[in-house]
């Protein structure tokens, strides 16, 4: 029997008037919330004194042990993970924080996944590298609150004062009498107690942590993933399940004209072929529509689809040609654009400079290609909907399904499976909506399975980008002017028909927030209308912006005969807080308050120096080898990477060694940080060497890993060293994404050092042949 720390709604203690809209909803749902701003309501002894943007997220933060923790009579502690697991280890890291504060024995902890319900759990968007950043303190508070309730229950049982007892390793001890009692025996009594107020909680001192910061806990899903027991999107099989694959309009904005299903229906196992509902683009994450083949198994459905004859109206993007568009983009950045940051007088400084160095760069569209293509199962009736899907945004999926089906939110249940990778693609729940619509139509459970071709042909693509930087250098070799023009279709075009310029969010990812000590800086953003669906891809606009900026630094160094690392440090300048907001309006700092998360040039310097030191910058290398360096702040973390590359006489690349320095402030799970940096290296190799989605007549020209390769094991770096800086009590930064942006420029800078060939257009492809 489980004893959740649950109380009737009538006894709910509700705090924090600033979040009444949320709390009203929680009370209505029968839950109990002990909620407060992360620092505002708690004193310095009970919570770290910093604020985050967590409270401003949709549905904010819920801090309630009764929702997140339950304890069985046998002592098993069950902790709810409310974020989606896609390989980051968040299903381990967040419960681990609770367990540490709770003084739970990790061996007796069980983790369960929350359903999509942001009213109950708070914001669940598992993107933006925010999970640990926003939930370190709330998870600690949840664990501490549960521990306090257990201690109080034991004290009452023994008729002693609460401060005479202490929880330790899954039991409460009364030192004076030597009595001890396990959590399982206390759970029922503890559940009857009120949840302590935040400002009364005792958080553990860092020196008492057993799990946090140690890296001694394997991910909870490790065994199931490695033995095939883990349940991903395609593993859900309710009774009477029907299997569907769809053919969708090949051009975004296109629609179905007609189809002939005769041959498809002749395929054994195919049961029905029906039109699938779609919406005109842009329509958020709504399905594209098309034709659905329904069968008794996925294989039959795919074969049936192969046999279809379909006629399309390709619509307004029928002539989208990415090569022609590239020429337009490159021309656009040679002309003035919307000024998005302006400091000093760039025109005058460029005019009076001793030398002007110009760099132009191009980065193509990319597809996410998570190893698990999208898949979702739905069981929808007239009155309720139940969905099983690998989604990064369980709460958003819940809302979108309810609205699309016209059902009340309480009639919709979203079960979140493991995600076989996400990278931002699975923040968009179009595949779950497809399944829901088909299930309602067929009055049966339906699983929609995307093939790899579906995934590559109908993605929400990483944007395509042209970047141009002009740097003016004075006679002393100091960079005195910096004009960076970036043109790229915005992901806002997925919601907004008229979007032509990058949003403040995209501009804030490495363009306007460049932290260089240059007196004259101007950033401009020429127009770039989208002609396909644009989404966010791991690290988003940091990828093109960092590539341009960090390549340009090396180009300047070469032009001046300087060492690239020294040049980079010179341009970062002295340790200081860089006030980006004074020279740009609507600056977006990853949603975080500047006072907690300033742009700290000192931290960028430190990781640059650390990567250089650990990577043995300047060491003697064999012929054909080179070292490259790049550093970048993103998602309020600071990363620098030194890469050693080897290029043979045929232009083949290998990477003997990578050294990455990470300053993400306070960290929880160093083992996962290392794995994220390793994954970022693999993704960085993929996008740098191979990644390119092209369009002809509006259609994506790639379809599978034969023409859109990802890095294979023989391309992986032989050694990846990850060097963490001490947290020093700083607020935690992001980790899931920040390893990616510096990788490609560091690699290409290393290639230049090895060969003298400058890579200005990605992918590298055969440019070295």
């Amino acid at each position: 029997m489980l004893h959740a720390f649950a109380k009737p709604a009538s006894e709910a203690v509700i705090e924090n008037v600033s979040r009444r809209h949320l709390l009203k909803g929680v009370a209505a749902a029968g839950g109990l919330v002990l909620a407060a701003p992360l620092a505002g309501g708690a004193n310095a002894a009970t919570a770290p004194a910093y604020k985050t943007g967590a409270g401003a997220m949709p549905h904010g933060v819920v801090v309630d042990p009764r929702i997140f923790v339950s304890i069985a009579q046998d002592g098993t502690v069950t902790i709810v993970a409310h974020r989606a697991e896609m390989g980051t280890g968040v299903r381990t890291s967040l419960p681990m924080i609770v367990a540490d504060e709770l003084e739970a024995d990790w061996a007796r902890v069980r983790v369960v996944e929350a359903e999509g319900n942001e009213i109950k759990y708070g914001n669940q968007d598992t993107d933006g590298s925010r999970s640990t950043r926003h939930y370190l303190v709330p998870m600690r508070q949840i664990g501490a609150a549960a521990r306090t309730m257990l201690e109080e229950a034991a004290a009452q049982k023994w008729n002693v004062k609460a401060d005479e007892v202490k929880a330790a390793n899954h039991e409460v001890v009364h030192a004076a009498s030597g009595r001890r009692i396990g959590y399982g025996e206390l759970a029922a009594d503890a559940a009857k107690l009120p949840v302590p107020k935040l400002d009364t909680l005792r958080l553990k001192d860092e020196s008492q942590f057993k799990y946090m910061g140690k890296g001694n806990i394997p991910i909870v899903d490790l065994h199931d993933i490695t033995t095939g027991k883990a349940r991903f999107g395609a593993d859900i099989r309710p009774p009477d399940l029907k299997y569907a694959v769809l053919v969708r309009p090949p051009v975004v904005g296109g629609k179905l004209v007609s189809f002939d299903a005769k041959d498809a229906l002749a395929v054994p196992g195919v049961e029905q072929v029906i039109e699938a509902q779609g919406w005109p683009w842009p329509s958020k994450f709504q399905p594209l529509g098309g034709v659905a083949v329904i069968a008794r198994n996925t294989g039959a459905a795919i074969k049936g689809r192969d046999a279809l004859k379909v006629v399309w109206d390709d619509g307004a993007n029928a002539k989208y040609d990415s090569e022609a568009y590239r020429a337009e983009l490159e021309e656009a950045v040679r002309k003035p654009g919307l000024v998005v940051r302006n400091e000093g007088d760039v025109d005058a400084a460029l005019k009076s400079a001793d030398k002007v160095i110009v760099g132009e760069y191009y980065l193509p569209h990319l597809a996410h290609v998570s190893m698990e293509p999208p898949a979702a199962t739905a069981d929808v009736t007239d009155t309720k909907a139940e969905i099983w899907a690998p989604v990064q945004s369980p709460g958003g999926t819940h809302e979108d399904i309810a609205k699309t089906l016209g059902l009340p939110p309480e009639a919709v249940t979203i079960h979140v499976t493991l995600l076989g990778g996400g990278f931002g693609r699975k923040s968009k729940c179009d595949y779950a909506i497809e399944a829901a619509l088909l299930s309602r139509k067929l009055k049966a459970p339906v699983r929609v399975q995307w093939t790899r071709e579906d995934d590559i042909h109908h993605d929400f693509y990483h944007t395509v980008s042209a970047e141009r930087i002009e740097a003016g250098v004075d006679k002393s070799g100091k960079v005195v002017a910096w004009r960076h023009r970036s043109a790229a279709p915005s992901f806002m075009s997925t919601f907004e028909p008229d979007a032509k310029n990058e949003s403040a969010i995209e501009l804030g990812m490495g363009l306007v927030d460049v932290p260089f000590a240059i007196p004259n800086i101007r950033c401009e953003n020429p127009e770039a209308a989208a002609h396909t669906r644009i989404g966010w891809f791991r690290s988003v606009s940091n990828v093109p912006h960092a590539f341009a900026v960090q390549t340009m630094v090396a180009e300047i160094a070469h032009a001046l005969g300087r060492d690239p690392k020294d040049m980079l440090l010179d341009m970062i300048g002295p340790a200081r807080m860089v006030d980006i907001g004074k020279s740009t309006k609507d600056w977006w700092n990853y949603g975080e308050p500047f006072e907690s998360y300033p742009v700290d040039a000192g931290r960028l310097r430190r990781v640059t120096e650390l990567a250089a030191e650990k990577g043995e910058w300047g060491r003697k290398l064999p012929a054909g080898h080179g070292l490259g360096i790049a550093a970048h702040r993103s998602f309020v973390s600071y990363i620098a990477t030194v890469i050693e590359v080897a290029v043979d006489d045929k232009g083949n690349i290998s990477i003997p060694r990578v050294d990455t320095a990470v300053d993400c402030g306070t960290y929880v799970n160093p083992e996962r940080i290392r794995s994220q940096m390793e994954g970022a290296a693999i993704m960085g190799i993929s996008l740098a060497k191979h990644g390119e989605i092209t369009f002809k007549n509006g259609r994506v020209q790639q379809g599978n890993f034969d023409d859109f390769p990802v890095a294979r094991i023989d391309e992986a770096p032989a050694v990846i060293n990850v060097h963490l800086t001490p947290g020093e009590g700083r607020p935690p930064g992001g980790i899931g994404e920040p390893g990616v942006p510096p990788f490609a420029p560091a690699l290409c800078n290393a290639i230049f050092a090895a060969t003298g060939k400058r890579i200005r257009r990605l992918p590298i492809g055969n440019q070295l042949a």
Binding site: V257, S283, G315, Y320, T451, T494, D707
Partner: protein, 97 residues
């Protein structure tokens, strides 16, 4: 060994192309060529289903060439989707992605 594998695949692709038609044959040869420097293609690669309908066509369209300055997004969404668009725009502007 690699040469043998490649030769075998090319031969197999030629055999299968007799059955699968010219379009499949092109795909097969591309896979075999790619295998020499990227991967060892499997015999079933090109034969497996899932590439999409064999017969797709499009009606003529007056679409203009895509440009950086001319948006092409539709504005005729149903009210519910229009509202979802607006809400998501506000959400992303507020929280980021």
């Amino acid at each position: 060994m690699r040469a043998l594998t490649k030769a075998g695949l090319v031969a197999l692709s030629a055999l299968l192309s007799l059955h699968a038609g010219a379009a499949l044959a092109c795909g097969f040869q591309r896979s075999a060529e790619a295998s020499s420097d990227m991967r060892v293609a499997q015999a079933g690669d090109a034969a497996r289903p899932g590439r999409g309908p064999q017969s797709e066509s499009s009606v003529p369209t007056p679409a203009p060439p895509a440009s950086t300055t001319q948006t092409t997004g539709a504005t005729n969404q149903p009210p519910v989707v229009k509202q979802m668009n607006e809400e998501e725009k506000q959400k992303v502007e507020k929280e980021g992605k």
